[in-house]
Every structure is written in structure tokens, then in C-alpha cells.
């Protein structure tokens, strides 16, 4: 790779982006207290919150204007995702947004009705993580609340539709995961085929990785904040534990990882918006690093509250459990590492 490329490295947010960040930050802190997150367990979906998100324009902002949306780019969607993750909101924001965008990109007349339902939030749509292989069920993120799931089959990108979603399966991240038996679904719409299908599918996966990375950043930052406050009041041997380097230094490492993971997620979002054919490995890097940051960060944050950090009653437990629970849904870290490595290998050829 070129180590001295003459590129800008400018992370300053535009004013409109800043406004999006503040607006959604306020929204989630008003509308999504941790008590609501708790009450929505184990399914991880709250219809009331979803309705208010729809009212906020969340389901339309990322759709192209041709599909009745506001044409927001990935940078803004990632900022929303960061606030969404901070609140660990029980809503299928990421799945629904990336899948609706993929449906809109297919520009297929058969999808008009479904797209309208996705835009007004009445029809939740989701994305299968791997191509469908006959005879095997698949765990589908948001599959317990979505009636339409987009999946790759052979050469085709197919929308599988059901009247009743498959039943929820309990999982560590308290997300609406479900085993989908695609073989049994007869209602199928081929929305794209060949290269076009692959392009839309890959893009949707990239978007999911980037938005998940951003959500994991917000999630970890909130958990860090809880523990920073704890260490400023908890004493041992006559001093605040925050003054001990054995406590303070791990906290600085979490903060450091968050700062880097946030920048990478935003940069990856920027590339998807403005230079989608360059740095194809960035979404995977964003996800892998944010997952590491979240897994390590929430674990340390919980641990530095001692035994209290191990209790269900402590909100930090919900953050710890979702760090893995959300990160693993968006991609398999080892498989991603190999594809990132392939880009390094290709760059010197």
C-alpha cells in the first residue's frame, strides 16, 4: 500500500452532520432510557420506540429521493448509528436501513409496495448474512420481526416474504434473531441477478458493517462513561480508585480505541459515499476494529466496577452482552481478516 499518498485526512463534521448527531443524541436519550431497553428483553424490539423513530424520519432519511427519501449518505447514517448504539436501542435500525437501501437500489417495479411499507416503517425488512444453501436454516438478524428478508441465492438476489416472521431465538445480544427456513418460503421475488445482484448485496453488507461499527463505538463510549463515573466516587484504602493507574490506564485504553474506531467508521462511511471503488477493505476494518474495541472495552468497563459490574442489575451488563451480540451479527471476524489481508497482498502486486 502507498504510505505517502497525498490525501486529505479531515475528520471535521459538516454543520448538517453535526446537527444530525445532536438531534439523534437527544432523541435517544429522551426516548430510549435503559429501562426501556431492559423491558424489551429478550426480543430486543419496542414497537413504540420504532414508531417514534419512524416519526423522526429515520426510515426515510437514507432512501434516495426517487424512493421518497431524503437521500442522506452513509456519513449521516453512521452518525445516527453511533447514537443508536449509545442507547443500545431495541429497534432494527441497521438491518432495516441497509435492506431498504438495497431494495431501492434494485429499482424494480415489483418492489414499489414493499418499499413504501419499508419507508413508513410498517414493513420491517432484513438482510441474510450468508448465501442460501438448500437444506440449511440460517440465523437472520432482525429475522423475528421482519417479514421480508433479502438473500443471495445462486446468481440471484431474492426477497423472501412471509406473513408471519419466524419465531425469535434467545441470544446473547438480545436482538430479534430468528432461524429462517428459507426452503419453506414460497413467496420469492428475484430483485436482481448476476453482477448487479452481487453489487447490491456486497454494498448492503458493507453498509451493515460500517453502521454496526459506528453503533459499537457509541455503545462502548456509553459503557466507558458509566465506569468513569463509578471510579470517581468509589474509594479503596482512602483514595478514589480513579487515581490508581491500574484502574485509570485501562480506561484510557478504552478511550483510545473508541477514538480510533470512531474515526475509522466515519472514514469508511465517507468512502462508501464518495469513493466507493477505493479502499474496499475499509468496511471490514471498521467492523473488526470496532468489535475488538467493544468486546474489550465493555469487558474492562464492567470489570473495573468489580463485582457490581458482574450483576444483571447494573446497566453495564446490558452493554457487555451486546458488544459481542451485535458485533458478531454483522460479520465473521476471521473471514474478514483474510479478506483484508488479501487487499494488502493485492496492493503490492
Amino acid at each position: 500500500m502507498d504510505l505517502v499518498e497525498l490525501r486529505r485526512n479531515d475528520y471535521t463534521l459538516e454543520e448538517v452532520s453535526q446537527e444530525v448527531l445532536v438531534a439523534f443524541g437527544d432523541f435517544f436519550s429522551d426516548q430510549c432510557p435503559t429501562s426501556l431497553v431492559r423491558a424489551s428483553q429478550p426480543l430486543g424490539f419496542d414497537q413504540g420506540l420504532w414508531d417514534r423513530l419512524v416519526e423522526m424520519g429515520t426510515t426515510t432519511m437514507g432512501l434516495p429521493e426517487s424512493a421518497g427519501g431524503d437521500g442522506a449518505g452513509m456519513v449521516e447514517l453512521a452518525l445516527v448509528a453511533e447514537e443508536f448504539g449509545r442507547a443500545i436501542a431495541p429497534a432494527p435500525y441497521i438491518e432495516h436501513i441497509v435492506t431498504s437501501r438495497a431494495l431501492a437500489a434494485a429499482d424494480n417495479p415489483a418492489l414499489v409496495e414493499i418499499l413504501a411499507g419499508a419507508a413508513d416503517g410498517s414493513r420491517i425488512v432484513a438482510l441474510a448474512s450468508a448465501p442460501i444453501t438448500p437444506g440449511a436454516k440460517q440465523l437472520v438478524p432482525a429475522g423475528a420481526i421482519a417479514k421480508d428478508v433479502l438473500a443471495f441465492v445462486g446468481e440471484d438476489l431474492v426477497l423472501f416474504s412471509v406473513d408471519t416472521p419466524f419465531p425469535h431465538v434467545a441470544n446473547q445480544g438480545s436482538t430479534p434473531l430468528a432461524w429462517w427456513d428459507f426452503d419453506s418460503v414460497s413467496q420469492r421475488t428475484v430483485i436482481a441477478t448476476g453482477d448487479e445482484a452481487l453489487r447490491i448485496y456486497t454494498r448492503a453488507h458493507d453498509e451493515r458493517m460500517v453502521l454496526t461499527a459506528a453503533a459499537l463505538v457509541g455503545m462502548t463510549e456509553y459503557a466507558l462513561g458509566l465506569t468513569v463515573e463509578f471510579t470517581k466516587t468509589r474509594e479503596t484504602m482512602g483514595v478514589l480508585i480513579a487515581t490508581l493507574q491500574g484502574v485509570a490506564f485501562p480506561l484510557t485504553d478504552i478511550a483510545t480505541n473508541i477514538a480510533g474506531a470512531r474515526n475509522i467508521a466515519r472514514k469508511a462511511a465517507w468512502y462508501l459515499d464518495f469513493s466507493p471503488d477505493e479502499r474496499p477493505e475499509l468496511p471490514a476494518i471498521a467492523l473488526v476494529y470496532a468489535s475488538q474495541t467493544a468486546t474489550h472495552g465493555t469487558q474492562q468497563a464492567a470489570h473495573l466496577q468489580g463485582g457490581l459490574g458482574f450483576t444483571v442489575e447494573n446497566d453495564i451488563s446490558m452493554y457487555f452482552l451486546r458488544a459481542k451480540g451485535w458485533g458478531s451479527i454483522a460479520g465473521d471476524p476471521n473471514a474478514l481478516l483474510a479478506t483484508i489481508g488479501d487487499q494488502v497482498l493485492a496492493s503490492v502486486k
Binding site: 504510505l3 490525501r7 486529505r8 485509570a248 480506561l251 484510557t252 477493505e281 481478516l337 496492493s347
Partner: protein
């Protein structure tokens, strides 16, 4: 937000070609050989050639010995120099810190000729901060300076004064009021290193970088070489220190690195490139091409994730992250390539002419110089997380008195 390629005007493109051609001419093989042998981070021929064109500090106005470059042009220059060899340019970076303080605080009549010499590449400056007793507690410096009329008498020793042996001046932290609290009793003095009473001894590090211990014995320096007020050294020092710590960096519309860590990460990036090139040719025990080997692909991927983290983490946090990822991955890449990873420059079969072997040695120093990663974690704890300061006894000591 902008991560796009910088669009160059026709004029800037021409300048870029001119710079590239000129650097290719002055960075001759003997320059690299000289650096390899001396580890000084300095080459008089290169510095003077650049200085003659105003290209050593090209962002300075022409009348100050620069070339009046715009931020884009300055960035072009910076990257082209890195493309040649960042190691040789170390003292350029080091000098720039005291130069800023000299310009700000000294009488222009004294400062201007000194700064011009620096810009011309005929003089460089080093940092006389750390002492044998400990460098982390920088405000606790003990080298003593006593004023008598217009002259200062300096006694004591400094350790790790990198570049002292090739520098004209050292930017020295001196203790001028031993009774005052430690931050309030220090004064900065620009000491000519050819002064009588200065003795310089080499310290060799295992990265190959040379540094020095410097003894000061009744060294006489004129008061006009004082930088800033008497006992006001802490304030004077903060400008350059903050710069070294990447605090409050002017990001120049994204035309600078996000932290000093990027420079460290380039060494990792170079190693990754070398390992990748090697993997396209080398085969494993079963004859498989290593570029197809899952272990190689995953390891390079993991290094890439860390590299990206190192160059994307801002400010003081970036300094810590970059050192951490470099230390970790330099060792991991050596493990990945096996025994050939142990072969240095100019040996049969070494990878990237010793890049992999070098990276592991180089990496270790990055955790220490410029303030250790522990000192930076302390800064992050206080300034990023707002954690309370530890109540350490030394935080309050009065140097001479050790008053209770």
C-alpha cells in the same frame, strides 16, 4: 470530512515533480550508508542542499529562510521526504520545536540569525530536557543555572540529548530557583554546544539510533540566549511539548497526520508491504504459495486493522496506539515469516533488505522517547477522561528544600 486525493494545481504538480527530481538527486546511496553507520538522523549535505532552496522549513516566509509554501505544498514536501528516508530527517523535526520557541520569545536581533542558520541547514537544535535521574518527571530537572550579571553559569548533566553531537544549540531546561515549586523554578536557555565546559558522550541504542549524555561544567552562556522569562520555563516549554504530544495540532484541513503516531505506523506499513511482496514469492512446507496461505492472509489482515487504528487515532491517544500496534505487529510479522525475519540489512535472504528485522528493534524506542506511553496514559486520563490526579508526594516537592 474529506479523505479524497488532494487536487493539485498545475503549479503544484510542477513543484511536486521538481521536488521529487531534486530529492532523488541528493539522496544518494552514501546518504543511506552514512545514516546506517551514524544513526544521527542528520546529514549535512542533504540539509544544506534543502536549506539552500528554502526547502528545509519551506512553510516559513522567504525572508526567514523558507520558501513561503502553502499548506498543500508543505505536505507535498513532507511526503516526498518520507518517500526518500524519514530517518535522515529526524533532526529537522527535532529542531522545529525549539525554533518555534526561539522565534516567539527571544530578541529578534539574536534570534533571527540563529533561525536563518537553521533554515539554511547549517545549524540544528536538540532538546536538552531529560536527565540521568529520570525523564518522565520533566519539571523536576536539576541542571542548575545561576545568573551573574549578563552571564549564566550552568552545571549538571543531561541524558538522551539526541543529536547533541551534530547540533549547534541545545534547548536546555535549567533549574533557576530551587526554592520555588518545581514548575515555577525552571528557565529555558539556548546553549551553544561548542561552549567550553560541554562534554558529549555517545549512547548507543539497539534501534541503531545514536543519542548522547551531555555534561555541563561551569558553562558560561550570555543572558541574551535565555528563551522566555526567568523561572517561566514551564510556559515556554509547553508550546513545543504540546506539539510533540500532538495536543492542539492545527489539522490544516486534513493536510497533516492526525498524530505523531502516523510516523511510527509507516514503519509498520513498510514491513507489511515487504511481507506481502515476500508472500507472493515464498512457498510453504507443502509447496503452496504463501500469499494463498490462510495464516498469512489473516495475519496481514490483523496487522492492517492495527495499522489503520494507529494512523486514525487522534492526538495523544494516537501516540499511544501507534506505539502499541507497532510493538505488537513488528514481533508478529517476524513470527509470520520465520527465521528470515531475523536477518538484518545487507545479508543474504533478508526481507526488504532488513526492514522486518529493523522494525522490531525500532518499535521499542517509540514507547519511550517523546514521553513514555505511561506518561501519555496519565495525560489521557486527566485531559480526555477528566479523572482526578493521583496524590503523589513528588507532585509537590520543592527541589532543594524537600520541605515537609
Amino acid at each position: 470530512m474529506d479523505f479524497g486525493l488532494v487536487e493539485l494545481s498545475a503549479e503544484d504538480r510542477a513543484l511536486q515533480s521538481e521536488i521529487r527530481a531534486f530529492l532523488a538527486e541528493i539522496f544518494t546511496p552514501d546518504v543511506f550508508q552514512h545514516e546506517h553507520e551514524t544513526g544521527s538522523g542528520f546529514n549535512p549535505k542533504v540539509y544544506e542542499a534543502l536549506g539552500a532552496r528554502g526547502w528545509l522549513y519551506p512553510e516559513l516566509p522567504v525572508e526567514q529562510g523558507g520558501a513561503g509554501f502553502t499548506p498543500v505544498q508543505k505536505r507535498i514536501m513532507e511526503l516526498e521526504l518520507i518517500r526518500q528516508d524519514a530517518r535522515v530527517m529526524m533532526m529537522q523535526g527535532t529542531s522545529s520545536l525549539p525554533m518555534a520557541a526561539v522565534r516567539k520569545y527571544m530578541d529578534p536581533a539574536v534570534a533571527d540569525p540563529i533561525l536563518k542558520e537553521c533554515a539554511a541547514g547549517r545549524a540544528v537544535m536538540c532538546l536538552g530536557y531529560s536527565e540521568p535521574d529520570g525523564g518522565s518527571d520533566i519539571a523536576n530537572a536539576k541542571v542548575r543555572a545561576v545568573q551573574d550579571g549578563d552571564m549564566w553559569t550552568i552545571n549538571g548533566s543531561k541524558m538522551w540529548t539526541t543529536g547533541a553531537h551534530i547540533s549547534t544549540y541545545t534547548f536546555l531546561i535549567t533549574r533557576t530557583d530551587p526554592e520555588a515549586p518545581k514548575h515555577k523554578g525552571i528557565t529555558m536557555i539556548l546553549v551553544p554546544l561548542k561552549s567550553e565546559g560541554v562534554t558529549i558522550q555517545a549512547i548507543r541504542t539497539f534501534s541503531g539510533e545514536r543519542t548522547n549524555i551531555v555534561y555541563y561544567e561551569d558553562v558560561q552562556v550570555h543572558d541574551s540566549m535565555r528563551v522566555g522569562g526567568v523561572n517561566n520555563g514551564w510556559t515556554v516549554l509547553h508550546g513545543p511539548l504540546d506539539e510533540e504530544h500532538s495536543i492542539g495540532l492545527d489539522m490544516n484541513g486534513g493536510l497533516t497526520d492526525v498524530s505523531v503516531g502516523t510516523g511510527m505506523c509507516r514503519v509498520l506499513g513498510a514491513s507489511m508491504n515487504e511481507v506481502a511482496s515476500w508472500a507472493h514469492k515464498a512457498t510453504g512446507s507443502k509447496g503452496q504459495l504463501l500469499a494463498d496461505d490462510i495464516r498469512v492472509r489473516e495475519s496481514l489482515g490483523a496487522a492492517m486493522v492495527d495499522y489503520e487504528a494507529g494512523i486514525s487515532t487522534p492526538g495523544p491517544m494516537g501516540r499511544v496506539k501507534a506505539s502499541d500496534v507497532l510493538v505488537k505487529n513488528a514481533a508478529a510479522l517476524q513470527d509470520l515469516v520465520g527465521t528470515v525475519g531475523l536477518l538484518p540489512m545487507n545479508t543474504e535472504g533478508s526481507i526488504g533488505n532488513g526492514d522486518i528485522e529493523y522494525a522490531h528493534r525500532f518499535a521499542q524506542g517509540t514507547a519511550t522517547y517523546g514521553g513514555t506511553v505511561e506518561v501519555f496514559r496519565t495525560i489521557i486520563a486527566q485531559h480526555v477522561l477528566g479523572l482526578p490526579k493521583a496524590q503523589l508526594p513528588g507532585a509537590k516537592v520543592f527541589l532543594a528544600g524537600k520541605k515537609k
